[in-house]
């Protein structure tokens, strides 16, 4: 199994989720994160104190899938999260040793 961790633009979240469902992805987990990268933020000014905002709001998607599905998932995220503008984000793939579903104690593929 693989954990696919994607950092994307927040407004692309629904598109990505919809792109994954047809592949058979039944669950995923999302966090609000802040990203630092090539994309530059706005400057904020509060009564003369200027803050350059280095961190931009992003969304992190974590989805665990069977190794066979990993490439398709990466592909689908790439397409659905793509705008072509700087800051579109990254996808990382990490190996997972074990997965368990808490409700049923099913493990691995059955747990996803």
């Amino acid at each position: 199994m693989k954990l696919i961790m994607a950092i994307i633009k927040p407004f692309k979240l629904d598109d990505v989720r919809e792109a994954l469902t047809p592949l058979g992805v039944q669950g995923l987990t999302v966090s609000e994160v802040k990203g630092f990268g090539r994309q530059k933020g706005q400057t904020e000014i509060y009564r003369g104190a200027e803050y350059h905002v280095n961190f931009l709001p992003k969304v992190k998607i974590e989805v665990v899938v069977g190794a066979d599905l990993a490439d398709a998932v990466v592909e689908a995220i790439m397409k659905s999260a793509h705008t072509g503008k700087i800051g579109d984000g990254k996808i990382f793939v990490i190996d997972i040793e074990r997965a368990v579903r808490i409700r049923t104690a099913e493990t691995d593929a059955a747990a996803l």
């Binding site: 629904d14 706005q42 904020e44 905002v53």
Partner: protein, 453 residues
């Protein structure tokens, strides 16, 4: 015979007092400290309606990234209209001029120093039309200013989330001078043509601003929604309000402040003000309940946003009627307003396919029309009795209703057309809308360089 309900509205307080406290000396008008106290208070209450009331009501309905920009709209409009009103708006609305517009005799509040401690006479010099008040002109001007402020601020609900701040400032400046001041003059100046009545009908009855404020702002909002177009992501993205609790605070302050709006429109602390407050409370509560139950029945749950929207619909609808009706009719006006505005904000909008972000038209336009028309139906004789129109002769029945229809149509047409023209001019000169990318990023940081943490 011309029977001016609104004229009665202004004239009556003094008459009532003449009959009691000042009976011995009705000739020389005097300031009344109690009336002045109530009008000072009412002015504060109506300002409270816009900032922070409306600022919160609207900000509570937008997404996180637009909260500050939405508040800024109300706040900047407050500052801007204050200055416009002082320079020319007040003069254009409330000096005699002609039937369509005032003159510039109060340009920059010219003449205020000379009369600072004298009772104000609206329509001074107009034989038989003078409305002698028991408060100084500064107080009358300030009270009216707060109305001139909130009206354009209401429009902002229609174009929330996408208008450029620079465009807003230009639009509001023009709208205040070209739409608000004229319409206020028509309805509330003794010389105004709607106040005087046309086609042999009695004068239009608008106690606290059903036409001047709500229909006016509502139709302008509708035109804005059409001209600016829908928000990016409308219908697909989740546009759920970030923090409805702000909207609850805002609606609550609107409710409380509206006592100044309606009961203050008696321009005196008397029985009419008390009755205006009473019917305001009853209609508002009834509308909050009727929207709530309508939504509960239609959608399965009674939402908090629904309850507060209903309350605002009730406040809007009772506004033109508040000095003219008794508690029973107020209950009916409230119930009708709650149900109909629920329908207009949730169904009509989708049927017609415009994106009036915060339902400026659905609540203020529709609620204002309901109220203006029902005022004609329910007006209670004794409130509007004057020397010229004694009890029993003064309510026009069908004629009054027709007069209300005329006033509604006149406002819809003038405001609708002018708003359209102004928007087109502003679009050509500074551009109305931010770019799609800016809209996605959010107006707070794009327009104002700020962000809620």
């Amino acid at each position: 015979m011309k029977t001016l309900l609104r004229r009665a509205a202004f004239a009556l307080p003094l008459l009532a007092l003449s009959a009691s406290a000042f009976a011995e000396d009705a000739a020389a008008p005097k300031l009344d400290s109690g009336d002045t106290a109530w009008m000072l208070t009412s002015t504060a209450l109506v300002l409270l309606m816009t900032i922070p009331g409306l600022a919160l009501f609207y900000a509570g309905m937008v997404r996180k990234k637009n909260i500050l920009a939405t508040m800024m709209q109300s706040f900047a409009i407050t500052a801007l209209v204050t200055v416009i009103w002082m320079i020319a708006g007040y003069s254009l609305a409330f000096t005699n001029g002609n039937a369509y517009i005032g003159d510039l005799s109060r340009f920059f509040l010219n003449g205020f120093g000379a009369n600072w401690d004298k009772p104000f006479i609206l329509g001074a010099g107009l034989k038989d039309l003078e409305q002698v008040q028991t408060v100084p002109e500064s107080v009358f001007m300030m009270f009216q200013m707060t109305f001139a402020i909130i009206t354009p601020a209401l429009i902002a609900g229609a174009f929330a989330d996408r208008m450029k701040f620079s465009a807003l400032l230009v639009f509001i400046t023009l709208w205040s001078l070209l739409v608000y001041s004229p319409v206020a003059h028509w309805v509330w100046a003794p010389t105004g043509w709607l106040n005087a009545g046309v086609f042999g009908l009695p004068g239009a009855a608008d106690f606290a601003g059903g036409t001047v404020v709500h229909i006016n702002a509502g139709i302008a909002g509708l035109v804005c929604a059409f001209v600016l177009g829908k928000r990016v992501g409308y219908g697909t993205d989740n546009m759920a309000p970030f923090n409805v609790s702000l909207a609850v605070i805002g609606a609550s302050l609107l409710w409380v402040g509206w006592f100044g709006f309606n009961a203050g429109s008696a321009v005196a602390a008397n029985g009419r003000a008390g009755m205006a407050m009473t019917v305001t409370q009853i209609a508002t509560a009834a509308a909050a309940l009727s929207w709530t139950f309508a939504e509960w029945a239609a959608k399965g749950k009674p939402s908090v946003l629904g309850a507060i929207s209903g309350a605002v619909a009730g406040l809007v609808a009772i506004t033109p009627a508040s000095g003219f009706v008794l508690p029973g009719p107020a209950l009916i006006i409230g119930i009708v307003a709650g149900v109909v505005c629920f329908w207009s904000a949730t169904s009509l909008k989708h049927m017609m396919g415009y994106d009036d972000s915060l339902d400026a038209f659905g609540v203020h336009g529709v609620g204002g029309i309901i109220g203006a028309l029902l005022t004609g139906v329910f007006a209670f004789g004794p409130f509007t009795a004057t020397k010229d129109a004694p009890l029993g002769t003064n309510i026009g029945g069908l004629a009054q209703f027709e007069s209300q229809v005329v006033a509604v149509l006149a406002t819809l047409i003038w405001s609708g057309v002018l708003t359209f023209i102004i928007l087109k001019i502003v679009d050509a000169v500074v551009g109305l809308r931010v770019t799609e990318e800016e809209e996605r990023e959010g107006l707070d940081v794009v327009l104002h360089g700020e962000r809620i943490g």
